[in-house]
Amino acid sequence: MRIPCPYCGERDAQEFAYLGDATLTRPDPAAPDAARAFYDYVYLRDNPAGPHGELWYHMAGCHGWLVVTRDTRTHVIQSVAEVGAR
C-alpha cells in the first residue's frame, strides 16, 4: 500500500502505524454516562464495508497523525488529511 502523506508525499505503508477508526471522539469524562461512553469508545468498533476514515501515524516520517479515508473493500485511498484539518 502507498499512502500520500500531506507533508511527506506518497510513502510506503510500512512507514506508518495504524490505529483505527478516526470517527471516534473521546467522550466527556464529566458526563453522567461517562463509564458507558468510554466503554464504547475503547472497545466497540464498526466494521464497515466501504469508505472508512482511519487514523494512521507517520512514524517513520513527519510524526503526523493522519485521517486516511480508505475503502475497506478495495484499499483505494480516497483522501488523506492531517488530523487537525478535520
Binding site: R2, D12, A17, R26, H63, W65, H75, I77
Partner: protein, 996 residues
C-alpha cells in the same frame, strides 16, 4: 549430433556459446554444457532423460517444460550450507562447477525402493489422508506420519545457516513492463521512446521470450537477433532499467509490485559484496502485463513418462539450446502451433515418427509438412497410453479415427493442448478470470488499477498480434503516465494460425493418467472426488491436492477443471475458475528478510559510554534496540553475581556510576505543556514548581498502566519527560496522538531528544562529593540548594553545559548528570577519575535491577500490560481533581477489586534458598492446581544488602497480606518453596538515604 560427451547436442544452431565449456555434476556424474544452457537443457544435451522421482508414487519423471511452470524436474542444487531443495532444472542457469542431485529416490534415481508406493496406489488415492489414517487415532503420530514423511516430501533443506546475504530495495517508474517477449519488448520500446521511465523485468536470463525458442523472422532477421537489437536500444536509454533474472511475483495495492531479482543464483557463489537475491518493491504509475502464456498438456495413460515434453519445450530445446530431447519423436497436438515442432525437427534432423492430431481435418500445409518429415499422420486420433522404463519412452498406443489401436515406437513425445494466458498477476488483488469459449481458456476478468494486459497474456497468441499489441499498450501506458508517444513501426513477422480443438483428457487410458504431475494427482483421483461429492473446484482442490504443489498447478489446473466439468456434465466456467495468489513462483523467506537477520534483525544503538564500557570488559545486554553494559567484571571474580554484588555494595556504601542515556527523553514546550502532562499522567504536573522533578505514571485509555518515569520542569513552559527504555517510541506516539488527535487546541510542541543527551546516574553516599569535582563551583549542588527531586542547569568539566537532576532509582543519594551526547565518552571518564578517591565503581543493568528490586520500584516485569496503577501500589498518585487518560476505565469494578493481584515483596522462609521469577503463588497446603493460583513472582534478585534472595510479585490482595506465607511453585524448574509476603521496599523504607 556431436559434442564432447554431449550426445544430445545438435551440431549447429542455438543460442549457447559453444566456445566455452562448463563442467557440472548431476547425481555425481560429470557432464558438460555451455554458457546459455539451463541445467535442464544441459541434461538433455547429455542424454539424461530421467530427472527425478515424483512426490507420492516415486514415479520416474523427466523434464516437461522449458520454464518456471515446470512441475517435474525439481533438483537439489549446490552442496553444504548452500544446498537448496526443489529448484527447477528448467530455470537454473548453468555455471561451471554446478552440482545438482535428483530428489525423492533411494538408493538411486534409476532404482528406487519407494516406487513400490505405486503398487500401493489405492492407499494413496484422493483423500487418503482423511480416510486411511483415521484409525486408531494414536497411530497418527507414531506410525502414519513418520511413514508418510519418509516416503513423501520433496528435497532436503541444508539444515545449516545460509552463508549468503539478501537485500530489499525500492524502485519507481512510469511504466513497468512484466515480461520481455515480443510483446514486452515492443511495449518497453514504445514507452521508452516516449520518454517514460521504464522498468522491464523478465524471469529469464535472456530477453526475448518465445522469440528465442521459435523459428520466427522479424523484419528479415531471426527473432532472437531482433530481440538483441531491441534490447540494445533499450540499454542505451538512460530512462530504462532492464532487469533480467527478475520475477515479478506479486501485485499489491496502489501500483506496488513485488519482484525477486536473482543476482547471484547463476554464479557458483555470489560476487563479493553482492547479495544472492534482491527483493524489489517496484512502484509503477502504469503496468503492462506481457507475461505470455503457458502451454497446457493433454491427459492420457502414462503421460508422465520421461521423454514426454510440452511441444513448446521441445522447440526451445532445439532452437534455443541446440539440444535434442529425442531421436525418434512423436507429436501429439490439437492445434497448429504444436505442429511447428514437426518443422523444427525436420530442420534439425530429428526424426518425427508420427503426428497425432485429434482434429479430423487439418490444412494441406500441415499434411505436406508431415509428409516432408516422413511422419505417419493420424488425424482424428489420440494418444491413449505411453509405455517406457525409467530411462525413457519406448512406444505410444494411438487410437486412430477408426478406433483401432496402433503402437508406434518413439523415444520422445511432444505434447500440445493449447495455451493458457499467464494472468496470475491480474488475480492477486481479487480479480476473477473469465472463460472465453473461442480460446478455450480463461482470460483476465479485469485488472488492478493502472495495469493493462498485452499480447499472449490476453489470448492473442500469434506473433503479429503480440507485436502490435505491445506497441499499442506501450504507447497508451506512456500517455497515461503523462508522456506523448509517437507511433512505433511494428516489425513484419511470420503469420501464424492456431485452429485449436479443445482436448483435455483422452478417455479409456489403461494406465495411470496424470493431471497434476507435481502432486501426483490422476484422473482417477478426480473421479473419486466427483463420486464422493467433492465437486466444487475448492473441494476438488483440497480433496485431491490438485494445484496445491509449489508450481500452483500452472500446467494442471485447467485440465483438472475440465475433467471435473465433463464428469458432472457442466461447462468449464460453471464448474469453477482457477485463481492465483502471490507469489507467482516461490520466493525464499531469506529474500523477504533481506538484511534483517541475526544481529541485523533490528538496528543496534550504542550508548555514549559504550566504547569506554567495552574497554572495561563489560558484557552487554540488549534492552530494546540498545546495548547496555550488564556488569563490569573485576579480575578474580568467580561469576557475574560476584561482580553485581560488589557493584551494589559500592553504590550503597560509596558511589557508583551507570549510563542511563537509553531512557526515553521527550522535550515538551509551550504554554499548555503542563496541561498536556496533567491529562497524560495520572498525577498532576502543572503544579510542579520550576526546578523540580516528579515521578509519574501514565495509563492506557483502558485503565492499565502504560509506562512510568519522571518529568522535570525546566521553565514555566518547558518540561523534559523521561520514559522507560523500551517504551520510548510508544510514549512519543501516544503524546503525539493526545496532542494532535485529542486536544489539538493545546499550545504545545514536543520532540524526542533521547539521542541528544548522554545521561549518567551517579549514586551513593559520595555522589555529591564526586560531582562537586566536575561541576562549575558557581552552581551550588548542596542538599539545601538542590534537594531531592530538584533539577538545575550546570556547567561541567570546565565548559560543558548540561543538567543535573537529583533523582534516584537506587534509593541512595543520587543524581543524573545530562550532557550533550558527544561529551558522553569524555564525561564518563571524568566521572570515574573524579570518584576514584571515593572508591567509585561503574555499575551495569544487573546492579541497577537489584537495587530497584531492593527499593520495590515496578519495572517492565510488573508493568506487564494487565496491571493497574493500584495493583502496582501507585493508586495514591491518581489525582481526583482532574481527568486523565484511563481514569474512567480504571474505575471499572473489575479493575478496582481489592482481591486483584497487587504488588508485594517476597522472602524465602529458608534464607539459603534461591527465588525464581515466574513461580506461581499457591496457598500453603492447597493442591498445586490452576484454580488455587494466587499470582506470580515477577522479579527476583540476590540482595547483597540483606544477604539473601528477595522478590517482587503480584499476589491476590498482596498489600494486605504482609507476614503471611505461601508456596512459590515453579514446576518447570522443579521449584516448590515457602515464601513470606512482605513490603516490596526492602531497603531504607523511610527514604532517609535519599535526602542527605
Amino acid at each position: 549430433m556431436t559434442g564432447r560427451g554431449q550426445p544430445g547436442r545438435l551440431a549447429s544452431g542455438g543460442l549457447v556459446d559453444r566456445s566455452q565449456t562448463l563442467g557440472f555434476r548431476f547425481d555425481g556424474n560429470a557432464m558438460t554444457g555451455h554458457p546459455g544452457d539451463t541445467l535442464a537443457s544441459a541434461l538433455i544435451a547429455n542424454g539424461v532423460v530421467l530427472a527425478g522421482r515424483s512426490f507420492k508414487y516415486h514415479r520416474p519423471r523427466g523434464i516437461l517444460t522449458a520454464g518456471s511452470e515446470e512441475p517435474n524436474a525439481l533438483v537439489e542444487l549446490r552442496t553444504g550450507p548452500r544446498r537448496e531443495p526443489n529448484t527447477k532444472a528448467t530455470t537454473i542457469e548453468l555455471f561451471d562447477g554446478l552440482e545438482a542431485r535428483s530428489q525423492n529416490r533411494w538408493p538411486s534415481l534409476g532404482f528406487d525402493v519407494m516406487s513400490v508406493a505405486s503398487l500401493l496406489s489405492p492407499v494413496f488415492a484422493a483423500g487418503f489422508y482423511y480416510k486411511t489414517f483415521m484409525w486408531p487415532a494414536g497411530f497418527w503420530e507414531r506410525v502414519y506420519e513418520p511413514l508418510i514423511r519418509r516416503a513423501a516430501g520433496l528435497g532436503r533443506a541444508s539444515g545449516q545457516p545460509d552463508p549468503d546475504s539478501y537485500e530489499t530495495a525500492f524502485a519507481f517508474c512510469d511504466v513497468l513492463v512484466i515480461g520481455a517477449g515480443p510483446t514486452g519488448l515492443m511495449a518497453a520500446l514504445t514507452a521508452a521512446r516516449a520518454g517514460a521511465r521504464v522498468i522491464l523485468c523478465d524471469e529469464d536470463f535472456v530477453f526475448g521470450g518465445r522469440l528465442l525458442a521459435e523459428q520466427f523472422t522479424l523484419d528479415g532477421i531471426s527473432g532472437a537477433d531482433w530481440a538483441v537489437s531491441i534490447t540494445a536500444e533499450l540499454a542505451q536509454n538512460p530512462g530504462v532499467t532492464l532487469m533480467r533474472r527478475t520475477t515479478v511475483f506479486g501485485a499489491y495495492d496502489h501500483g506496488a509490485f513485488g519482484a525477486l531479482e536473482r543476482v547471484g543464483d547463476h554464479l557458483p557463489v555470489p560476487a563479493p559484496h553482492t547479495p544472492r537475491q534482491r527483493l524489489w518493491r517496484i512502484v509503477a504509475k502504469r503496468t503492462i502485463l506481457a507475461a505470455g502464456a503457458i502451454e497446457r498438456h493433454i491427459v492420457f495413460g502414462g503421460n508422465d513418462r520421461p521423454g514426454i515434453m510440452m511441444a513448446s519445450a521441445v522447440r526451445a530445446c532445439i532452437n534455443r539450446f541446440a539440444a535434442a530431447p529425442a531421436r525418434r519423436l512423436g507429436v501429439f497436438a490439437n492445434n497448429d502451433d504444436g505442429w511447428k515442432t514437426v518443422a523444427d525437427c525436420l530442420r534439425a534432423g530429428i526424426a518425427v515418427e508420427a503426428v497425432v492430431d485429434p482434429r479430423p481435418v487439418i490444412s494441406e500445409t500441415l499434411r505436406t509438412l508431415a509428409a516432408q518429415a516422413g511422419a505417419r499422420l493420424f488425424t482424428g486420433a489420440t494418444v491413449l497410453d505411453a509405455f517406457g522404463t525409467a530411462n525413457g519412452l519406448q512406444a505410444v498406443d494411438i487410437r486412430t479415427s477408426s478406433a483401432r489401436i496402433e503402437t508406434v515406437s518413439v523415444d520422445g513425445l511432444a505434447l500440445s493442448g493449447g495455451w493458457n494466458p499467464s494472468i496470475a498477476l491480474t488475480c492477486h488483488l481479487g480479480g476473477r478470470p473469465v472463460w472465453r469459449d473461442d480460446l478455450a481458456a480463461f482470460v483476465a476478468g479485469g485488472t488492478p488499477a493502472g495495469m493493462a494486459i498485452a499480447g499472449a497474456a490476453t489470448g492473442a497468441f500469434d506473433l503479429r498480434s503480440c507485436l502490435a499489441d505491445g506497441a499499442r499498450s506501450g504507447a497508451e501506458a506512456a500517455e497515461a503516465a503523462g508522456f506523448t508517444a509517437r507511433a512505433v513501426e511494428t516489425p513484419t513477422a511470420t503469420e501464424e494460425t492456431l485452429g485449436l480443438m479443445p482436448l483435455w483428457s483422452v478417455p479409456g487410458a489403461r494406465t495411470k493418467a496424470f493431471v497434476d504431475f507435481q502432486n501426483d494427482v490422476t484422473v482417477k483421483d478426480i473421479e473419486i472426488a466427483e463420486r464422493e461429492g467433492f465437486r466444487s473446484v475448492e473441494h476438488l482442490k483440497r480433496y485431491t491436492t490438485l494445484g496445491m504443489a509449489t508450481d500452483q498447478g500452472k500446467t494442471a489446473n485447467l485440465n483438472g477443471l475440465a475433467i471435473m466439468a465433463a464428469l458432472t456434465g457442466r461447462a468449464i466456467p460453471e464448474t469453477g475458475t482457477t485463481t492465483f495468489r502471490p507469489p507467482y513462483t516461490p520466493v525464499a523467506i531469506g529474500a523477504f528478510a533481506g538484511h534483517h537477520r541475526g544481529k541485523q534483525f533490528r538496528p543496534t544503538r550504542l550508548t555514549p559510554s559504550h566504547d569506554w564500557a567495552a574497554e572495561q570488559g563489560a558484557p552487554f545486554v540488549e534492552t530494546g534496540q540498545w546495548l547496555r553494559a550488564q556488569w563490569f567484571p573485576k579480575p578474580g571474580e568467580a561469576d557475574w553475581l560476584a561482580s553485581v554484588n560488589r557493584e551494589v555494595r559500592a553504590v550503597r556504601s560509596a558511589v557508583g556510576v551507570c549510563d542511563v542515556s537509553t531512557l526515553g527523553k521527550i522535550d515538551i514546550q509551550g504554554v499548555d505543556a503542563g496541561a498536556l502532562l496533567d491529562r497524560v499522567y495520572i498525577n498532576s504536573f502543572s503544579t510542579l514548581p520550576v526546578g523540580k522533578v516528579r515521578y509519574g505514571a501514565m495509563l492506557r485509555e483502558d485503565g492499565i498502566v502504560m509506562d512510568d518515569g519522571t518529568a522535570a520542569r525546566l521553565a514555566d513552559d518547558h518540561y523534559v519527560m523521561s520514559t522507560t527504555t523500551v517504551n520510548a517510541a510508544k510514549v512519543m506516539q501516544h503524546l503525539e496522538f493526545c496532542h494532535q488527535v485529542l486536544w489539538p487546541e493545546l499550545d504545545v510542541q514536543m520532540v524526542s531528544v533521547t539521542e541528544q543527551w548522554a545521561q549518567f546516574s551517579v549514586a551513593g553516599p559520595r555522589a555529591r562529593d564526586t560531582l562537586r569535582k566536575l561541576i562549575d563551583p558557581a552552581t551550588d549542588i548542596s542538599d539545601a540548594a538542590l534537594p531531592y527531586m530538584g533539577v538545575t542547569g550546570i556547567v561541567a568539566c570546565g565548559g560543558i553545559s548540561g543538567r543535573l537532576f537529583r533523582i534516584s532509582f537506587s534509593g541512595e543519594l543520587a543524581y543524573e548528570l545530562a550532557v550533550p551526547a558527544r561529551y558522553g565518552d569524555g564525561v564518563i571518564r571524568a566521572l570515574v577519575a573524579a570518584g576514584a578517591e571515593y572508591g567509585i565503581v561503574p555499575y551495569g543493568t544487573e546492579a541497577l535491577g537489584v537495587m530497584r528490586i531492593e527499593k520495590g520500584h515496578p519495572a517492565g516485569n510488573e508493568i506487564n500490560g494487565t496491571a493497574t496503577a493500584s495493583d502496582l501500589g501507585l493508586g495514591r498518585l491518581m489525582s481526583r481533581k482532574k481527568d486523565f487518560i484511563g481514569r474512567i476505565m480504571a474505575e471499572r469494578p473489575g479493575l478496582t477489586d481489592p482481591g486483584r493481584p497487587g504488588l508485594a515483596g517476597f522472602m524465602p522462609v529458608d534464607q539459603a534458598v534461591r527465588l525464581r521469577a515466574g513461580a506461581h503463588f499457591i496457598g500453603l497446603g492447597a493442591p498445586a492446581a490452576a484454580r488455587n493460583d494466587e499470582g506470580y513472582m515477577t522479579s527476583v534478585a540476590f540482595s547483597p544488602s540483606l544477604g539473601h534472595w528477595i522478590g517482587l510479585g503480584l499476589i491476590r490482595n498482596g498489600p494486605a497480606r504482609h507476614g503471611q506465607r505461601v508456596r512459590a511453585y515453579d514446576p518447570v524448574r522443579g521449584g516448590d518453596i515457602e515464601v513470606e509476603i512482605c513490603s516490596p521496599v526492602f531497603v531504607d523504607p523511610e527514604g532517609a538515604r535519599l535526602r542527605v
